[in-house]
Each structure stands twice: as structure tokens, then as C-alpha cells.
Amino acid sequence: MFRFIGRRLLVAIPTLMLVVTLAFFMMRAAPGSPFDTDRKLSPEIERNVLAKYGMNKPLGQQYLDYLAGVARGDLGPSLKYKDKTVLAILKENYPVSLKLGLSAIVLASVVGVSLGVLAALRQNRGVDYGVMTVAILGVCIPTFVTAPLLVLVFASKLGWLPSAGWNDGAAINLVLPVTVLALPQIAIISRLTRAGMIEVLHSNYVRTARAKGLPARTIVGKHALRAALLPLVSYLGPACAGLLTGSLVVEKIFNLPGLGKFFVISALQRDYTVVMGMVIFYAALILLLNLIADLLYAALDPRVRLG
């Protein structure tokens, strides 16, 4: 297993290199610079500023310098937020995104799996059709539709929940954004669970378990669910990527101080180092989550051998 992890980490290095390269040159190809202000800088000042950030060197040299920095774990200073390093900005803001994302994925897994199992056990009956209708709706209604609609109902009209803001992560402020983020995932997870469950319930070993007189609860909980959750585990990687996209919108709508909000603003302001730092951070996160999903998969399915 350690060899497997080692090899995956080795493959991750060229992937991250590619990410850095793409991000670097795309950002530099953009017209404008982080030092464009309303007032034109005098040539001397501009030269000094560029020299301070090493941006007077040829582009290839800058790229190599940046790569060397990344390899040392140094993402450089922000070009817009004075006296802040990119790492400091990441550290300050990712807990918000992380808390949102984790809460959403936990909520989505618990609700999605329960609904999926329920639908599978009552296949082709009212409950099943109800769950599947909700699942289809959940996939088709985008977050930027659910978010304002829920705000309109629960914050503006009923006044039960705050319409926006972080409030140091108070539970009541989390309800709406986490729900909005989780809804599409609930839809997908319940569909996956239902499909997996139905297939497993028809398999030979479940029939054996029934034949030897195990109680229904043991069959479902111990034998069937474990196998039915396998497709779900391999979905977790892409699910987290989906949460990222979702949180860009959710953080904007609910005005939350997470990374997603920073990304668009920094890209528009040409804050090269912050944008690249965030892309690298997210890419590394996705790679890590995919690896964890694969390890979980192997842990759950005795037939899978890591090699």
C-alpha cells in the first residue's frame, strides 16, 4: 500500500507542474498588470516596483524562480495586499471554505445514502418515485437558483435565518449555504446509492445471507450497504471538485470570506501570485482527495488490490 501511495504522489508532481505552468503563462498572457492604478506610475517608480517583485527579469527566468519557490513551499508575496504572503492569505481564508465544504459533504452523504437506501428497499413504489423525483430536480436546479430562492423564502419572507454573512461560523449562518451546496450532491449520491443497492440486493451473496436466515437489518446494513457504497466512494473525488465550483457561487451570494470569493477578485486584479497559489492549492487538494477516495475504496472492497 505504501508503494501505491508513493507512486501516486510521484505522479502528482508532474500534474502539479503542469498546473503551475498553465496558470503562470495564462496569467501572464493577460493584458494589464497588478500595478495598473488610476494614476499612471512614473517610469522610475514602476521600474522599482517591478524590480522588487523580480518582474524585471525575462519571463522564463521568472517562471523558473517561481517553480523553485513552490518547490520550497514558498508561494511568494501578494502583489495587491501589501505585506501579506500568499500562504498567509490561504491560511486565513481556507478554514471558511473547508468548514462549508466539509459540512456540505457530510450532510450530503448522510441524507443522500439514507434516501438512496430507502428508495432501493421500496423500489418502484411511492417512496422510490418521490426520492427519484427529488433527485432529478436536485441535479437540474443549479445552486445559483436555489440560493437566492431559499434566501428569499427563509431570510426575507420568514425571517428565520440570516440572509448572508459569516458571523465567525455560527451554526445559524451555516444552514443556508451548506444546504444549497449539499442539495445537488444529495441528488447524485441518492441516485448512486439507489442504483448500487438495487444491484447488490439481487446478487448471489445477498440471496445466501437471506437463505441462511439473517435478519433483514443485518443483510442491508452489513452486507449490502458496504458493497453498494463503493461507487459512492469513487464519486467523492469529483464531488469535492463540484463543491469547489459550487462554493465559488455560494461564497459570493452569501458574502462569505472564503477562498472562492478571493479567486475571482484576484484574477480580475491580476494578483498573479495569489491566483497561482490558489490554483495550486486546489489542485493539490483534489489530487489528495482522489488518493484518499482510492484508498477508501480498497479498504471497503476486499477484491481490490492496490498495485
Binding site: 496558470a23 495564462m26 493577460a30 445559483f144 437566492p148 475571482v264 484574477a267 490554483v279
Partner: protein
């Protein structure tokens, strides 16, 4: 594996095979029949047909144009002064804007999907057909791209080159081709070695015959299914960009920009949020129903 596959099974199966042979139904006849029996898919097709007609013809029929500013008709609710579903903060007719937005969103969906189709099929079929080392390298490249946080690169692209509509097509299409190439490559790879292809070769069918009669129809199924599921994904992606202010630029509208603007003014004018949202959801749902129906109809495994 036993040899029993070669011996025709007795009973119902054999009769069915014989009946099929008599009638000579093709793969596509079968698929069409199954698709038309699927109520959700048929409903999806009808609704989609209506939406397409509305998007193509609609903008020419409205009393107002999508960018016409009417200073006296600001913030009108539905059914006021000939504005069927109200107006926005500049007094622009929401119906006209909605029809225009639908047209733009559908066009983006179709064109970007076409871009992804061309890249994905070419890449996947080539890798699958050539096989070996090259195939490995090409698919590893796809694997690497898969693990990129794509939405960020699309955002970077839009920021870098400005939000012009052609770029939206290309950017989204360039993201969506990955899955397509995997599907096509996998299909080509397995089809190459299938018994029925070998049988056709043994029966003396020409190379061209094998490709047109056996490879293409079998490749087409999954591709068609994936295309119908890619279109709503593309429409959604464009809306995300528009929502973040990076998509279609005003006064032009897409469903995404309309919803984004509606969300800003929802306290004052909820209709600006509700109508575009409904159209968006109905559009996405009809595509998804058609896609799911097609998958069930074409994939013989789930019969």
C-alpha cells in the same frame, strides 16, 4: 466460459431471435421504439422542441426588443403595459430578454458541445485505434487534465482574454471533451476486438463495411447519449460564469445573467428571478430526461 453460447438456446429466446430475424428490425428501430415508450423522454423532447421554437422565433415576435430601455416602464410587475412578465430596473421587457437569453444559452450549449465532440471523438478514436504506447501517453494526458481544477482555468481564460462569446464556446468545449474522449477511446478499443467484428471480417465484409455497419453504430450510441448530457452541463457552466460576471456581457442576456441580475433585485422584483429560473430548470430537465431516455434506449444491457 463454456461453449454453450454457440448452441442456440431452446424456448422463448430462440423464438424471439427468429421473430427478430423475420421482421429485420435494426438497432436504431429498436432504440427509437424504446425511446418513444419512455414518457419522461418524450415529454422532454416535446418541451425542448417548444423551447427551441421559442428561442428561434420568439425574439422576433415580442412587442419590445431585448435591449430597448423604457424609462416610464421601470420595475413593472407581470401583465403591465403590454409587458407580459414584467420589466427590469431599466424598463426592459423581461419576456424579450428571456427569449433572447434562452437563445444565447441554447446556442452556447450546442456550439460548445460540438467543440467538445470534435476534440473528444478525434482524440479518443485516434488513441483507441492506434493503441500501444501512444494511446498510453494520450490517455495519461487526459488523466492529468482531469485532476485540474477546471473552473479556475475557465475563469482565468475569461479574465485573460476578456469575456467574448466565441471564447466562452471554446473554453467550455475545451473542458468538456475529456469525458468524451475517454468514452470514445474505450468503445473503439473494445469494439476493435469484439467477436462480431471478427465474425464480420471472417464473413468477408470489407473494412469499410465493418466500420459503417458495426463500429460506427456502436460508437454512436454512447456518444449521442453523452452529447445530450453535455449540453445541459455546458449551459450550466456558462451560467456559472455569467453569475460570476464573466460570461455574456450586457445588454446581451443569457439565462445565467438573467438569474444573476434577478437575484440582486429579488426583494423588489421577484419575477425577475423566478421566470428565468423556471425556464432554466425546465430546459436542463428536458435535456436530462432525453439523455437518460436515450441511454436506456440505446444501451442494450438494461433492456
Amino acid at each position: 466460459m463454456s461453449t454453450s453460447i454457440l448452441i442456440p438456446r431452446s424456448g422463448k429466446g430462440a423464438e424471439a431471435i427468429e421473430a427478430a430475424a423475420v421482421k429485420g428490425r435494426s438497432l436504431w428501430d429498436d432504440a427509437r421504439r424504446r425511446l418513444l415508450r419512455n414518457k419522461a423522454a418524450v415529454a422532454g423532447m416535446l418541451v425542448l422542441a417548444l423551447l427551441v421554437v421559442a428561442a428561434v422565433v420568439g425574439p422576433h415576435l415580442t412587442a419590445y426588443t431585448y435591449d430597448e430601455i423604457n424609462k416610464d416602464d421601470v420595475w413593472l410587475g407581470p401583465l403591465n403595459h403590454g409587458h407580459l412578465i414584467g420589466t427590469d430596473s431599466l424598463g426592459r421587457d423581461l419576456l424579450a430578454r428571456l427569449l433572447m437569453g434562452l437563445r444565447v444559452s441554447l446556442a452556447i450549449g450546442l456550439i460548445a458541445t460540438f467543440v467538445s465532440l470534435v476534440i473528444g471523438v478525434a482524440w479518443g478514436a485516434f488513441a483507441g485505434y492506434v493503441g500501444g504506447r501512444l494511446d498510453e501517453v494520450m490517455m495519461r494526458f487526459v488523466d492529468v487534465l482531469y485532476s485540474l481544477p477546471f473552473i479556475f482555468f475557465v475563469i482565468l481564460l475569461m479574465v485573460t482574454f476578456g469575456s467574448n462569446i466565441v471564447l466562452i464556446f471554446v473554453a467550455i468545449g475545451a473542458v468538456e471533451w475529456l469525458t468524451m474522449s475517454r468514452i470514445v477511446r474505450g468503445q473503439t478499443l473494445t469494439l476493435k476486438q469484439k467477436e462480431f467484428v471478427e465474425a464480420a471480417r471472417a464473413a468477408g465484409l470489407s473494412q469499410r463495411g465493418i466500420i459503417t455497419r458495426h463500429i460506427v453504430p456502436n460508437l454512436l450510441g454512447p456518444v449521442v447519449v453523452y452529447v445530450t448530457l453535455t449540453i445541459p452541463a455546458v449551459i450550466l457552466a456558462e451560467s456559472f460564469l455569467s453569475f460570476l460576471g464573466l460570461g455574456v456581457q450586457p445588454p446581451m442576456a443569457s439565462l445565467g445573467t438573467l438569474i444573476a441580475n434577478g437575484a440582486q433585485d429579488m426583494e423588489l422584483a421577484p419575477w425577475l428571478l423566478i421566470f428565468p429560473s423556471v425556464v432554466m430548470v425546465v430546459t436542463l430537465m428536458s435535456f436530462n430526461f432525453i439523455g437518460d431516455g436515450l441511454r436506456d434506449a440505446i444501451d442494450p444491457k438494461d433492456r
